[in-house]
């Protein structure tokens, strides 16, 4: 494309990309425009003097390069570009997250000889790479690689276990078990933006399988797993609780150990806000500017509680600062000096931050 003779092509590519930014994102419409553009460019390249002596493989290469360039430029406008898509992605991953708590291979008719964690992880890993790529072709390759891993698992099992090869009866359930990120948007993006002439044969089959895996998960209910409605509901509810508990524990733990008393002014203390105060403390500690003569006996209780509050905050602040500075200093340090630096920083911070404790 650097060749001056290709100037006409370069110009049409650029103007196509620019024209895209004028329109509001509309996935179906965009897809049509992109596909039409690929087709017209293919015709242009095939008829172009520069490619006159080229083989099909070379032209193919040029077209792949074109798709890669155009889709990289247009990625943000075409991938998960609508709020609906983002919502759909979130809903699906939430559902998958909950299902993982109780879904077992037998719910999907996966026979035990095929329950091979290593192979499944490998397949899942291939699929998870999908978000590292921006171009339809590369995303599609992640899907194909994942499917090949599953295929190999099936073939190996049929050889080593002397088991009749199950074909799609075994293949689809295992694929459903893998958990790809942004499933909906990735599939939609590939379906709409991959050069249609390349979306055939095995690639189309594997893509269809993932589309059907998605569809199965979206519509999944008690019947899909051959369990009772009540059991399904209970399991989903239980999964939601399991999901919530660790997060809450984590946050509480965090707050307690470090920030609770710093960030939370304490609900028992009313805030007498001063309009012109610029020190945070003044908002939380209304007696900062009070004179001794103004105080009454009734203030003692509040003063005492504020005092306790301040001490607690100060102590936890000290320990946090010490903690933070230690971990910060240690991690980037090259080998050898760890001990010295660790001791040094520990010492310094104790001295500066906790003086007069």
């Amino acid at each position: 494309m650097r060749n001056p003779a290709s100037l006409d092509l370069v110009r049409s590519i650029k103007s196509f990309i620019v024209s895209f930014s004028f329109n509001a994102p509309n996935p179906e419409n965009n897809s049509k425009r992109i596909q039409d553009f690929f087709l017209s460019m293919e015709a242009a390249i095939r008829g172009h003097p520069l490619w006159e002596a080229s083989s099909d493989a070379e032209i193919d290469n040029a077209l792949e390069g074109l798709e890669k360039y155009v889709m990289t430029k247009l990625h943000s406008r075409t991938f998960a570009s609508s709020a609906e898509d983002v919502k759909m992605d979130a809903e699906i991953s939430d559902k998958i997250y909950l299902l993982q708590n109780f879904l077992r291979p037998q719910h999907l008719d996966i026979p035990s000889v095929l329950q091979n964690e290593t192979a499944w992880l490998l397949a899942e890993k291939e699929l998870k790479k999908i978000n590292a790529f921006k171009v339809p072709r590369e995303k599609l390759l992640c899907i194909i690689n994942c499917c090949r891993v599953i295929n190999n698992l099936l073939l190996n099992a049929s050889i080593s276990e002397d088991r009749v090869l199950g074909g799609a009866d075994d293949f689809l359930p295992i694929l459903i078990y893998a958990n790809p990120p942004q499933l909906h948007s990735n599939l939609k993006f590939i379906q709409l933006c991959r050069m249609q002439s390349k979306l055939v044969s095995e690639a189309a089959y594997f893509l269809t399988n993932l589309v059907s895996a998605k569809s199965f998960i979206v519509d999944l209910n008690a019947k899909s797993l051959s369990i009772e409605e009540s059991e399904f509901e209970e399991s989903m509810q239980a999964a939601k609780l399991v999901d919530r508990v660790p997060q809450e524990t984590l946050i509480t733990f965090d707050k307690r150990s470090a920030f609770r008393n710093i960030t939370d002014p304490g609900s028992s203390i009313p805030m007498h806000k001063k309009a012109n105060s610029n020190i945070n403390g003044e908002l939380n500690y209304p007696y900062m500017e009070a004179e001794a003569g103004e105080l009454t006996v009734g203030d003692v209780e509040r003063l005492l509680s504020l005092y306790k509050d301040v001490v607690t905050k100060y102590t936890s602040l000290c320990s946090t600062v010490r903690h933070l500075s230690v971990s910060k200093t240690v991690s980037p340090v090259p080998q050898g000096n760890d001990d010295d630096l660790l001791r040094g920083s520990n010492g310094t911070h104790k001295d500066t931050s906790c003086k007069g404790d």
Partner: protein, 201 residues
């Protein structure tokens, strides 16, 4: 093993047993490519039929070159055309039945398989036929296949039942055995012959 030797001892009477020895893909010949979807209950042997078809033409030990659920195979017909079948297997379990339309969309051929020892699978096959008549591509070529024909002593679906049902629905019918490779090649050859040809030729 003898995967390539298919002996039609119970021929449907319609297959003309082509010799597939010369399986050359002439680059200038009329080359058809067709998407074939396999439907049928889990366990009726859908994938076995295809594996037998694909492997039977080659070295039966070359397992690594074939996929487990997607396979393609080219056959040559006597009129010098070649047909490349792209075979899409589907999961046959009931829980996945609703996904089938994603697979048969755009298919030129549907092969609906049942097990001659299982009346339930024959009922399921009829369900698929009805569904395809309603929602399949117009002009789709359909074949009804009674598999496991080697299990004569356990037969529960009579040949006549299959023949009658297929005839009523304008389908091609054949009984096969993926185990003995019986009628496997005939099935695909017969389908190839029934494919609509491009009008230009």
């Amino acid at each position: 093993m003898g995967c390539s030797s298919s002996v039609p001892d119970r021929s449907s009477g319609r297959s003309t047993g082509l010799n597939n020895g010369e399986n050359s893909e002439g680059p200038d010949a009329k080359n058809l490519r067709v998407k074939l979807v396999l439907l049928g209950d889990s366990g009726v042997g859908k994938s076995c039929i295809v594996l037998r078809f694909v492997r039977g033409q080659f070295d039966p030990t070359s397992k690594v070159t074939v996929g487990a659920s997607f396979l393609s195979q080219t056959i040559a017909l006597q009129d010098s055309t070649t047909v490349k079948f792209e075979i899409w297997d589907t999961a046959g379990q009931e829980r996945y039945a609703a996904l089938a339309p994603l697979y048969y969309r755009g298919a030129g051929v549907a092969v609906i398989v049942y097990d001659i020892t299982s009346p339930e699978s024959f009922a399921k096959a009829q369900y698929w036929v009805k569904e395809l008549q309603k929602h399949g591509s117009p002009g789709i070529v359909m074949a009804l296949v009674g598999n496991k024909a080697d299990l004569q002593e356990k037969r529960e679906v009579q040949v006549q039942d299959g023949t009658d049902y297929a005839e009523k629905n304008g389908m091609f019918f054949i009984e096969t055995s993926a185990k003995t490779a019986d009628n496997i090649n005939q099935l695909f050859e017969e389908i190839a012959k029934r494919l609509p040809r491009p009008s230009s030729s």
